[in-house]
Subunit: 369 residues, 4 copies
Amino acid sequence: MGLSVDLIDDISEGIKGPKNLITDVDGVEVGQITIDQDDFHSGVTAILPHPGNVFKRKVPAASYVINGFGKSVGLIQIDELGTIETPIVLTNTFGVGTAINALTKYMLKQNPEIGDTTSTVNPIVAECNDGNISNIRAMKITESDVSSALNAAKDTLEEGAVGGGRGMVCYGLKGGIGSSSRIVKVDDDHTYTLGALVMTNYGFLDNFIVNGIPIGKSLAEMLVSDKQKEEKGSIITVLATDAPLNSRQLKRLAKRATVGINRTGGYIGNGSGEIVFAFSTSNLVSHFTEQNFDTVSRFNDNHIDLFFRAVAASIDEAILSSMVHAKTVIDRKGQLRYGLVDAAKQLVQQQPRYTAMIAQLFQQLGVKL
Amino acid sequence: MGLSVDLIDDISEGIKGPKNLITDVDGVEVGQITIDQDDFHSGVTAILPHPGNVFKRKVPAASYVINGFGKSVGLIQIDELGTIETPIVLTNTFGVGTAINALTKYMLKQNPEIGDTTSTVNPIVAECNDGNISNIRAMKITESDVSSALNAAKDTLEEGAVGGGRGMVCYGLKGGIGSSSRIVKVDDDHTYTLGALVMTNYGFLDNFIVNGIPIGKSLAEMLVSDKQKEEKGSIITVLATDAPLNSRQLKRLAKRATVGINRTGGYIGNGSGEIVFAFSTSNLVSHFTEQNFDTVSRFNDNHIDLFFRAVAASIDEAILSSMVHAKTVIDRKGQLRYGLVDAAKQLVQQQPRYTAMIAQLFQQLGVKL
Amino acid sequence: MGLSVDLIDDISEGIKGPKNLITDVDGVEVGQITIDQDDFHSGVTAILPHPGNVFKRKVPAASYVINGFGKSVGLIQIDELGTIETPIVLTNTFGVGTAINALTKYMLKQNPEIGDTTSTVNPIVAECNDGNISNIRAMKITESDVSSALNAAKDTLEEGAVGGGRGMVCYGLKGGIGSSSRIVKVDDDHTYTLGALVMTNYGFLDNFIVNGIPIGKSLAEMLVSDKQKEEKGSIITVLATDAPLNSRQLKRLAKRATVGINRTGGYIGNGSGEIVFAFSTSNLVSHFTEQNFDTVSRFNDNHIDLFFRAVAASIDEAILSSMVHAKTVIDRKGQLRYGLVDAAKQLVQQQPRYTAMIAQLFQQLGVKL
Amino acid sequence: MGLSVDLIDDISEGIKGPKNLITDVDGVEVGQITIDQDDFHSGVTAILPHPGNVFKRKVPAASYVINGFGKSVGLIQIDELGTIETPIVLTNTFGVGTAINALTKYMLKQNPEIGDTTSTVNPIVAECNDGNISNIRAMKITESDVSSALNAAKDTLEEGAVGGGRGMVCYGLKGGIGSSSRIVKVDDDHTYTLGALVMTNYGFLDNFIVNGIPIGKSLAEMLVSDKQKEEKGSIITVLATDAPLNSRQLKRLAKRATVGINRTGGYIGNGSGEIVFAFSTSNLVSHFTEQNFDTVSRFNDNHIDLFFRAVAASIDEAILSSMVHAKTVIDRKGQLRYGLVDAAKQLVQQQPRYTAMIAQLFQQLGVKL
């Protein structure tokens, strides 16, 4: 649901969708499952582009690699054919293999033709390394977990330390899943929705800013022992829209994800796998075509800035929302990993001089005490 | 072992290495396992860049996507960091997830630091769709199969319908694993080896040519019932060299794979996933560095054509070698899928007017009757 | 007019257009000017995508860099926006600056809004180094030459050592401008034309093959003194079609240019700038839009192989046509630079044992004696 | 000289070089010429990578296209070969052709072998559209202007509305040339300099922020009539370092330019040509090699974040510096185009409630009244 505030500045630029979630884009559904077994704290988040058979009715799509220290799969074929033909599954780095297997079986079940009378299928799986919180080496994600997430898909979602975001760490604080949406009015006859969902696991606390407020520096002084030595993070972004954008235009949108990420203080670190997927629920592409040509609506790039701004704003907000909704947890080594709200509260207690800054921060974030 | 002939023209351009295999590159090893269970005819081929710990001593590397109708994984990070840090595993399309899991576990076992005190690891898995021969939907590749292939690695390899190539079909005939190598003498002080290994599963028989001989057309008339309606193929190419080429230069080599492929009649079909990996066993990159800088040998691009020619020649030959070594098999629907040699022999029997052409073909291919 | 023969094999695969030129694509025009002043032998070839105002009605387009040892301009914006908004000008390497100036002025004259009330314009200029034949350092291409070529545009063109191709050398023989076209029948209701134009200036004579005949080797023995020591070549390819392909699909076509080039013996040399432009005359994009959305025809990629084959065949033929039509000339150092036909004739005279091969060659090329 | 302040936050992150200019990188020189003729207000800025013959001793380099609505030239060959072999010239969009000609002649004069006994040369020219201020259609940049700029190169430079930046507009205010540098200490034995130079001509005033202060919104209310309707901007960034980074690593640096740009409020608009060049003055590449191999220092990517941060900080500062140093001018239509300092002062006069914000702004920017 993003942040609950409606401010005049960057974070809330534009008009939010009714749920302020990626599922404001008609037909998009999200399913999640969260796993806590001993020192394994992970999960799966699945985004379904539409409720039908995605293999038979593919969505125009693009992907973009901001920084390629990552193991996401499926991008090669998106780049070539400009379509996505499965749900998108987000999980931890060592869950990718199992997610591919589960997603493949899910598609095979729906489509007996795959691998028999027609081509194979291109599973889309993205990942971050949740090894700070969870014993990632245990590789405990099961195929059943992935299909449970796929089958739990509905038109709303929980944010914070849930699903694939369960064990993620963002700017040294607890990260996870965040989402937001924007309404894009192109002209009197054309109004669309753009939604973003992020899995946040990147950044150094020192760099963290909220709408210009350099809160990270102050928190970092307090939480000095939590400072990461080595960046092992990543951020996965999924963009959805019902606007009839083609794969070239969707790639342009995907490239702007970096604007939203940078607004919170990111600088695209060496070890950060920053991967973006963007798809449109319009102008679907049939796998089994009766005709070689169809007729589609085409958007002139002249006003594409409207979408670029919506991308930046919704991702900025989705990142912050992932942090606002993530509770403080204990990591696999028994250390507290603070949620943003708890950390900010504690800062005020320890250092009363920050009272005004934190009040401003909470107002910006729509946090009520 | 490539082809046994030493001709003056394209196929054999350059000087072959002693084994005429990718394992002529010092330290490179290949392990394979072939699986035949009921209608499942598949396998795994693993290429080890060097006998040591590849995560700790990464190889400079590049990948290149000739056509992206494919599901190979690991390319994003190769592009970003210019290194490969695991063996390369080749298998069928629906074995990719399992291969990732097995390869990850193989690396975790060797490196207790991965996912704990250091970053994760980027498994490299490439695939073709062997669904013409094998019941790919059965998804019967096991993690144990993959580790068996990894553990079977040695400095030579069998070619033809073995390993990951067991169920592959090339130009409508039986394809599989092929390999070849070339010696590259840069100057009096610098002589290197370049090796290629291919898994061939692409092309239409009509287009197949051998060193200019349009043998495919004649065979296609005879084998008219085997004509594919839809291209569902791919070709995976792995290039190895001990020359000190950096990732930019290796990418240039990888791009030239298309020359070798085209020489046999390929035209980069829509449904063909044509993916290339290239690595150097020189100038290894340490994961745990004691020093931030090291000193490496750098090759001036002025004479890089020597390597480009070796790439084209060795891939041309490796493709043909995969076909020469592949025996006729029965596919999952009970149909004969001819090996090149058997098909050519049959052509002569049925159509004696092709006797001279086939004799020339067999001479070119070094096939003895 | 390409080659006059209609053979059953590679070179002539597919059905040729009525003129067998890029101008078979309705609306496409080509203008050329050839310059011979002292030791300066160069020229300009201009391709007009349609007879109207290309800035106001842009063509969907893509470019592709096979090998980037080249100085062509305009590709960045094609990649971003997927359109071409000026004619395409081909000239020698050191004529690029002047061609940009002339092309810009040509567009400014047509469009008083450019640089005043609307954006600037993106000139497309491609080049090869004709320094073997011409004194390229003299930089004698004038703006007037370029506008003369633009203004000379018509629906047919001369091939060989003319226009931008005047001073080019291909496979050590005389190269230049070549063109060819193919008819692509997608289904009963949809038949399109694909045309190719090349400016050929690449390759080593040793590697030259014609439809599998290794003629280059034999010629190289005779013309031993002409052997290039350093590759300084390039090949520019322009593809045009009236099929409603979008920029992603046009890029896929552009990538297949390498198949046609390789079929004549190319191997993408280090020093060869191999650049491809592809555009569609369908689904034009308005610069000044009255509406933000329009409705366009979209082609399903399932049968795009039909176009890929037409690309390979038309480029293969266009390259050979550039050589067949190029007469023997004297280069800037006073040496003979043989045309293919003259060289082949001389080979027969000197070495009668090649009589059969050359007869076969001439038959393949449609050359009559 | 960048900004004169030394703050603790984003803008001044890191240690500035002695001049706080790109020319802090040893050997890098910049020459500029500014042109004011009637309604033509433009110029040329030339960056020389080192004082020697750049063709003979090429610099390792990379380029990156953040958004490709631009006409910069030379990127193709940089991408292929990883080197820059000429100075980099910045001017207005319609000066590119002339700049290529002048730069080519400058190189030909230095190198009689070019285009005769060796290959041609790849001129690097980048541009922005200064049509808001200057009559760009007049095309008044001359070859002599470009060579004057090249010959004026020295180890310092003026910032603001000078050289290629004379007519540029940034965030609706006067833009131009800005520069800054950072010292990067990798370890006790290795300390390097990274310098940035920008030509700023992009952005909407509404979005302009300075280190988190949303100054643009307030200024936009005052300067409502200056609001751009259509983005016609661009930003060119040149990064130089003496660290031994190879072309892959330099491309990674170039990609991070977007972080610095976004920090000032950019969002990579549709019409903004955002192009980055990065080169190293270490490990030069000889054109005429005596040996095929040399020995070079190689930096392990593990600590490349140090450079990424320096990139973001120096570009953020260079952009602001271009604006702080740019005086208010009258544009070609007779309208005032405010410099940032003048605009801010006027805002305080008109709206005293902004006194504190502007005081903070000026403090951040090191502006003294």
